[in-house]
Amino acid sequence: MHAIEKILARHSGRDRVVSGEIITADIDFAEINDLYLQTIYSFREMGGKKIWDREKAAFVFDHYAPSPTIEASQNHREMRLFREEQGLTYHFDINAGICHQVMPEAGLVYPGMILVATDSHTTTHGAFGCLGTGIGATDMATVLITGKLWFRVPEIIRIHLKGIPGSHVLPKDVILYIIGKMKADGAVYKAIEFTGTYVEQLDVAGRMVLCNMAVEMGAKTAYMEPNQAVLDYVAGRSSHPFTVEHTDSDFEYEETYVFDISGLEPQVSMPSSVDNVGTVAQAGRVRIDQAFVGACTGGRVEDIGEAARILKGRKIASHVRMVVIPASAEVFKKCIVNGYLDTLIDAGATISAPGCGPCLSAHQGVLAAGEVCVTTSNRNFPGRMGSRDSGIYLASPATVAMSAWTGYLTDPSCENSGDSDVRKTEASGKGK
């Protein structure tokens, strides 16, 4: 059996499970974000009185933090009242950050668990050897009442990454490249396991980037066997006992895809589909209006640190605005201590409160018609960050920072070829 199947079996009281069968599994933790007041309405409509375990569910206010509208404030208010009424142990209000960052930080994520959240990017937690999957509000209501959810045991595919790319190529480039090859429907309803030397040596933040965007290929969940970095991270934060499940050596994946990423160049996903991927050079000359470093894909200390490294002593182009949003309060504090925010503010960036920010056009940097944004977030669907007539380029924090500096979509590999040269070349459109 695969580790994912072992997790599902253990949570459904079975010795084994087979792909395709429907099982009912116990849920270890359930998270509801502030878009899903419907969860509470469905809970009541279905006769819910008390939630199954007050220590195993929490609200995270991240999509609208702090609230930009009266409607969102009302939603927050009703959620706070529900939380109080139910006596939920954990609560993450507008001062916390993005759910996929604050839950691991709070020690709520550990190997071998099943985590459900009302957010599609719950695949992120595969980075910790956890089965994380997104569900809708009404499914969540059934979880809150019963502590269980039905699952179809997924087919499992393997994405094997060979080689280590150059230093300007970040985990975001790697996952964009994979999505470009696998396509947006390449893993619909399936689970993806990432393996290979690249994955084994990857830090926690990088692992989270890969698993986060697995859902952009349609995956139900993502999985990585925990490495030492993960075990250290969890040991430092969680007091929950856990079991790391191992895949049996004779397990047969439905499919294995092998990618050699040793010579990979920085990648960009062009409007308006996540799988429309090419090298930054292939994207051609693109003048940008906004650069965004943030979201559950690209708002960690490592991402903001990379942007600060590139922009140290430099100013962003005069026609560009740059929004930087730390993924959590903890990330925010570390970025202050490390001096990253100082550097970025000096470079001309705007720092906003932890949360999802403009990623889904809620607030803090929504795009007008005709505008172009280069961003570390994860979706570039039409209208995702504002007007349907705006364009979104998904890229690594290095590419975003370089582009903010030159004012044009720019490959960070040319960083060291002399400041004035790069900026002049990009501005005059004579670059490659």
Binding site: Y36, E71, N75, G136, T138, D139, D185, G218, L360, A362
Partner: protein, 185 residues
């Protein structure tokens, strides 16, 4: 102490096994941002939610959508966010069913939970034109184009999903099961 409980998706009318509707043909990878743009996520009124449906594809769709209309789409319909609003918006715009080459997983669950019939039909993308009248049998998975007389065989929906649709959604099914359990104990 709470705001008035709002019933976002009615999900209470039991599904008919066989029904007809006018087709609206869309492309592939129709994501939840196109079905229901993020800027409306704080809305809770069902009619209002329905009125913004598919605005990300074309702002005129919701206003002209025929009641019981059938959306026909390519692969990966409903990809993107877990937003249940997408299924709720389609439901409240009056969609009778969605037929697609494939569906994104979370959307699939949300729609079935709400009692919105879905059918997977390989190759349907180029076979139907908007405005044509379709007849669907959910039990057998047969789809008939009443304008051309052509028949297509879709995948039959699994037994578990069918039981949810037949109950009119997960809520009535869940309430019934809870009652049965109370009765047993």
């Amino acid at each position: 102490m709470y705001g008035k409980q709002k019933h976002l998706g009615k999900g209470s009318e039991k599904m008919k096994e066989e029904f007809t509707g006018q087709a609206l043909v869309l492309g592939k990878n129709i994501d939840t941002d196109q079905i229901y743009p993020g800027r409306y996520l704080a809305l809770t009124n069902p009619e209002e939610i329905g009125s913004h449906c598919l605005e990300g594809v074309d702002e005129g769709i919701a206003g002209d959508f025929p009641k019981g209309g059938i959306i026909v789409a390519g692969t990966n319909f409903g990809c993107g966010s877990s937003r249940e609003h997408a299924a709720i918006a389609l439901f409240n715009m009056g969609v009778g069913a969605v037929v697609a080459e494939s569906f994104a997983r979370i959307f699939y669950r949300n729609a079935i939970n709400l009692g919105l019939p879905l059918l997977v039909c390989r190759g349907i993308g180029g076979m139907v034109k908007s405005g044509q009248n379709l007849e669907i049998n959910m039990r057998t998975g047969e789809l008939k184009n009443l304008d051309t007389g052509e028949h297509y065989q879709c995948e039959t929906i699994g037994e578990y999903a069918m039981s949810i649709l037949e109950a009119g959604g997960i809520k009535p099914l869940f309430i019934r099961r809870m009652k049965e359990e109370d009765h047993d104990s």
